[in-house]
């Protein structure tokens, strides 16, 4: 009886923090995506976390711009945001298994798929996952793969997604070619 209790206690001691860590770890590992860099025509890599994020939050909060204030409210609990976008010159120029490996990470416990779109037009695959710790959103992952491009977004911490969608494209930042081309490639709705 005493041994059983000891084993049970030990199991709980090991499993509980492990599960907690797994549940809370919304960070995806993008190391394998480095293989796409050599083949991509355009690469966008943005990592904002830690002190950089704190600094940016302070600046955003101080800004008098109305959109910036909305952003400041939306990202108040944000802990990190990681973006990878790869644009290729030709179709199917990248190894699809690399992107599938990222999707495999999202099948781990804690992640819930909220959107799954497959379209043969442009070979588009869209996946959106969220992770919740209790009632609080702890992560968001967006994986969009098309014939000529791959885009991954990993957000750690709560964020107002609706606000992001509203402000998408409105922020006063330098335009990047990759965004214009993707907009041109998306066919209009019939």
């Amino acid at each position: 009886m005493k041994r059983t209790a000891k084993y049970l206690f030990a199991a709980l001691f090991v499993l509980l923090p492990l599960s907690a860590a797994m549940a809370q770890d919304a960070r995806l590992h993008f190391e394998r995506l480095n293989a796409l860099e050599s083949r991509a025509r355009d690469v966008v890599e943005v990592n904002v976390d830690g002190k950089l994020l704190d600094l940016a939050k302070r600046v955003t909060a101080k800004s008098g711009d109305a959109d910036a204030k909305k952003v400041a409210l939306a990202i108040d609990g944000l802990k990190g945001i990681y973006v990878r976008v790869y644009q290729f010159a030709n179709e199917n120029e990248y190894d699809v298994s690399i992107v599938d490996e990222i999707r495999t990470q999202l099948s781990a416990p804690g992640w819930e798929r909220v959107a799954n779109v497959r379209s043969k037009r442009n070979n588009q695959k869209v996946d959106v996952y969220t992770m919740f710790t209790g009632q609080v959103m702890s992560g968001v992952a967006v994986v969009i793969s098309e014939a000529k491009s791959v885009a991954l977004v990993n957000i750690i911490g709560p964020i107002d997604i609706d606000m992001l969608v509203q402000l998408g494209g409105k922020m006063n930042i330098p335009n990047i070619d990759i965004e214009r081309e993707l907009k041109n490639e998306i066919p209009p709705k019939e």
Partner: protein, 197 residues
């Protein structure tokens, strides 16, 4: 004259004796001289009237100085005596652009203005009010500038802000793609359902 009599009254000296007899009236009797009666000095009056008089004089002097300043200052700045009604054409002062020579309430006054030229005292008070209003507006602008300063960002802050905005913009556009894709799928499935019916 024998000097001994004068020295220690030894001997005889008729002339000295005669003088002594004549002046004996004034001889010291041996008692202290009576103190003369001295009238006590009157205590200074500490009534309320004296400080009031002084305060009144000081206040009157201050008023004179102020009026003199008002008389002098407008002459230097060449502000017209006639009062001017502000119109919507006047631009509010902007921090950093305000100069002491531009009263904020001054606007274009037509030549045939029906505004009467006021008496000097009233004009001075109007000018004083304008100066006070101008100073208050300067203070308000400075307070506003302090509260909402245009942020002087360091290179590090700029970089952080730009990186964050870039990340959020890309995220927003990708989420919009997702939204469009989902809406497109929903629309396609609705069309399919309608066609089956």
């Amino acid at each position: 004259m024998k000097e001994d009599y004068l020295w220690d009254k030894t001997g005889e000296d008729a002339e000295i004796e005669r003088l002594e007899n004549v002046l004996s009236v004034f001889r010291h009797q041996g008692s202290e001289a009576p103190m003369p009666s001295v009238a006590p000095l009157p205590e200074p009056k500490r009534g309320w009237f004296f400080p009031l008089r002084f305060a009144f004089a000081a206040g009157f002097a201050a008023v004179l100085v102020t009026l003199a300043a008002f008389l002098i200052m407008p002459n230097r700045n060449a502000v017209p005596v006639a009062s001017v009604e502000p119109s919507g054409m006047a631009e509010p002062p902007v921090a950093g652009q305000f100069t002491n020579e531009a009263p904020i309430t001054r606007t274009d006054v037509p030549d045939n203005s029906a505004v009467a030229v006021q008496r000097p005292e009233a004009a001075r008070s109007v000018r004083a009010e304008k100066i006070v209003a101008r100073n208050e507006s300067i203070k308000a602008v400075r307070r506003t500038a302090k509260r909402h300063p245009s942020p002087a960002l360091t290179a590090e802050e700029k970089h952080a802000y730009q990186q964050l905005m870039l990340a959020l913009s890309i995220t927003g556009s990708k989420l919009k793609i997702v939204k469009d894709a989902v809406n497109g799928t929903d629309a396609a499935s609705e069309d399919l359902k309608k066609s089956i019916r």
